[in-house]
């Protein structure tokens, strides 16, 4: 196998997202990004959570782990530590990453584990047919909040920044080429990268129009992605104008470098052989 073309990335599975779903552009952008980055297909591991977004693993012909709800990050961490040669990309949803899985996000960020978290943020639980999530705006009626969402939403970019993430970006399903570039940059980043994607759910929360009218690109401004406070302030913008692009990007030591003693070769690639326990025995004698 080795390097691959778009055809090689097909799995032949029928795509079952709703027609017009904001997941289609993400799938297209990811595939293109993988090709343009010219990776070995065998080296890519896609981890997907539970939700509509989770079907990504059915549609991309690389290594995949369709995991349980909310656990993309610890799973990705285990894979990356055991074999840092692998390119580990997690796809998660706003429910998956910010509701049930939120307890893992700040820790992955502060560790700067070299995995990528791509969140299909449709501001709704899609697969369970339309309930409120932590990013649903206040007052929005969903099937679990028929009188309007009583909670203030969470701003995931701020959380990522607050936790020490070294790469924080936002994309929009309505702009697939821009999205592709963001995915490429995220994968190229050495360290933890979070890419939150505004992904309209045409069935339960169609935000295409809403976002189209508001979105602007950070790279078309004088935004400096090295400046933490600028990133914070841009991440707070949420109203008539909503920025997409790379909010923050800095280089810091990555987590597996802390385990140099275990990386020669890394655990997953080490040949099994008889282990000498006797050198331990003095401790017990």
């Amino acid at each position: 196998m080795g390097k691959f073309s778009l055809r090689d990335l097909e799995t032949g599975r029928k795509i079952v997202w709703c027609p017009g779903c904001g997941n289609f552009p993400i799938l297209a952008a990811l595939k293109r990004a993988l090709i343009e980055l010219n990776l070995r297909r065998e080296d890519v591991v896609l981890i997907t959570g539970i939700g509509c977004h989770g079907r990504m693993s059915e549609y991309v012909n690389v290594n995949t782990f369709h995991t349980i709800h909310g656990r993309v990050l610890p799973l990705a961490t285990g894979i990356k530590l055991a074999n840092p040669n692998l390119v580990v990309i997690g796809h998660s949803g706003d429910g998956d990453a910010y509701a049930i899985g939120l307890g893992h996000l700040p820790h992955a960020a502060r560790r700067n584990i070299d995995v990528k978290l791509i969140v299909h943020n449709n501001m709704v639980f899609g697969l369970t047919t339309g309930q409120v999530t932590p990013t649903t705006p206040k007052g929005v009626k969903t099937r679990s909040t028929p009188y309007g969402n009583p909670e203030n939403p969470l701003n995931p970019l701020i959380i990522a920044l607050a936790s020490g993430a070294t790469f924080v970006a936002r994309g929009f399903s309505g702009d697939v080429m821009h999205l592709k570039e963001l995915i490429k940059e995220a994968i190229k980043h050495r360290g933890f990268a979070m890419l939150d994607i505004l992904q309209p759910c045409v069935t339960f929360y169609n935000t295409y129009q809403y976002f189209r009218e508001r979105i602007y690109k950070l790279e078309e401004t004088n935004h400096n992605p090295k400046d933490y406070w600028e990133a914070m302030k841009r991440a707070m913008e949420w109203g008539n104008k909503i920025p997409i692009g790379i909010f923050y990007r800095v280089e810091k030591p990555v987590f597996y470098e802390e385990f140099k003693h275990a990386m020669n070769p890394p655990p997953a690639l080490r040949k099994l052989s008889k282990v000498d326990l006797t050198k331990l025995y003095t401790m017990f004698m």
Binding site: F65, G78, N83, A268
Partner: protein
Amino acid sequence: MEITNDLSLMIGGKAGAGIFASGIIFAKTCMRGGLNVFATNEYPSIIRGGHQWVLIRVSDKPIYSQIRRVDLLIALDKLTYEIHRDEVSDSGGIIVDSTLIIGEDDSRLYGIPISEILKKYEAKPVMANMVALGAAIGLLDYDIDVLKGVIRDHFKGREGLVELNIKLAEEGYEYSKKHHSGFVFRLKSLKEGSQKILVSGNDATAMGALAAGLTFYAAYPMTPATPILHFLSRIQKEYGLIVIQPENEIAAINMVIGAAYAGARAMTATSGGGFSLMVEALGQAAMTEVPIVVVVVQRPGPSTGMPTFTSQGDLRFVLHASQGEFPRIVVAPGDPLEAYMLTADAMNLAWKYQVPAIVLTDKYLAESLWSIDFFPGIEPIEENIIREKYSSSEPYARYKLTDSGISPLALPGTNGVIVRVNSSEHDEFGFGTIDPGKVVEMVNKRFRKLSMLSDEAERKGVKAYGNGNIVIVSWGSTKGPILEATKDFRDSIRFVQFLWLSPFPRKGASKALDGAEKILLVENNKTGLLGSLLNEYLHINPDLSLLKYDGRPFYPEEIRGWLKKCLGE
């Protein structure tokens, strides 16, 4: 009358006073003299000041557990004396700081001017234990040089401490030699003794995993499993291990699954509460067929319960944890050698069969210490694994249907293969499916592994000791007290120990129980959980049960007393 090399010694005092360190030093001192040692402890979940003790049994014969009788008590504070004086036999002794316990009219007291000695050397109060240890060696007429050697190794690298501690021990030794004599109990080095190690169940579990190729360990601290984390993180550099303490148990087990998917032999350990949080991911390991090992060190529940005490209350829980049905390995060692062997087995077999394996121990096994021979060499065994290259013309199918139910396991990164695993029901290639025929095929495939797995269980899952037709049935750490209680009755009393709980060794059990006149159940829990398995699998309802659920392990005396009653004596 002198009693040589048959001693039960207790060291008690406040948490933070170095009780356990003293216990280990004393135990090693005996072990280096060729004697057999067993030590166990009790302590509350309090960092400083709570009362705690260690109980050490020493003999030139095999020993299996602590006993009730205390021959020599080292009471490092007054409370220890008050709580434990009734446990000391009439001919026994009690070492105390003579300035602390005054006016007690107790002929068993051996006063040592500990505080004065400490003052003389400007030593910290925590070093009282060294003076007392020296005094004990004196009283027991044992070899002070062995003690000094152990102290030297114990404080290796901190030379100032070595010298001071040795001085203190010598002072205690000399004082007791000079002022106290005629103590009934004696210790005497054996020259022929083989080289031994003093290990806990936790140590043995960790070393078993190492022997079977462990390279990745992730665990969130939880008493009484935490020492495994401490041990493995200490030796991570020498053994090239990744040892990580994640944000919680859910992260721990999912990291382990991730690492194992990538190809590393990976393990986690916890106690009941942490295992509760791992339940969902346990099912994920089963469904994705990613091999993992989970060590569950039991303590009394429900819920937070009693963190520093012992229990066998989680057996049914680990057997049935997680939604749906799937084969799993559950093994329960009864001593360090078994902990080592069974953990290594669990790791090798988890990888062979691609199923989750649980090693079920408890605080009593995990934290007690045994002097044992060096562990036998065990090797990591690898079967059905595709590393580096894949050489078939067919596309690789992670869940290929096979007769054994075991599909060839490839690692991601391997040339020419795509490894696709799925927590949803899936087809041979790992793609999701709801097709009823495929679903049944996949369930059957996973369950087909049971056939070979059951053979493993039958082969190794049950041990019988003795030939009597009165049969004691038990599992796990009760082994020691039961063997101790029955050691003189091997002709009349048989002890049947279950080492594998899943798959349940039905045939092995029938055979081991063959001819039983009476079946007596002994368990460290309230409801008799192994008993429920005997009912379920063998339609045997034990005639009588001895169940203990106050958080303490059994004492052989309790078992012996109960046996007498059972047998109508």
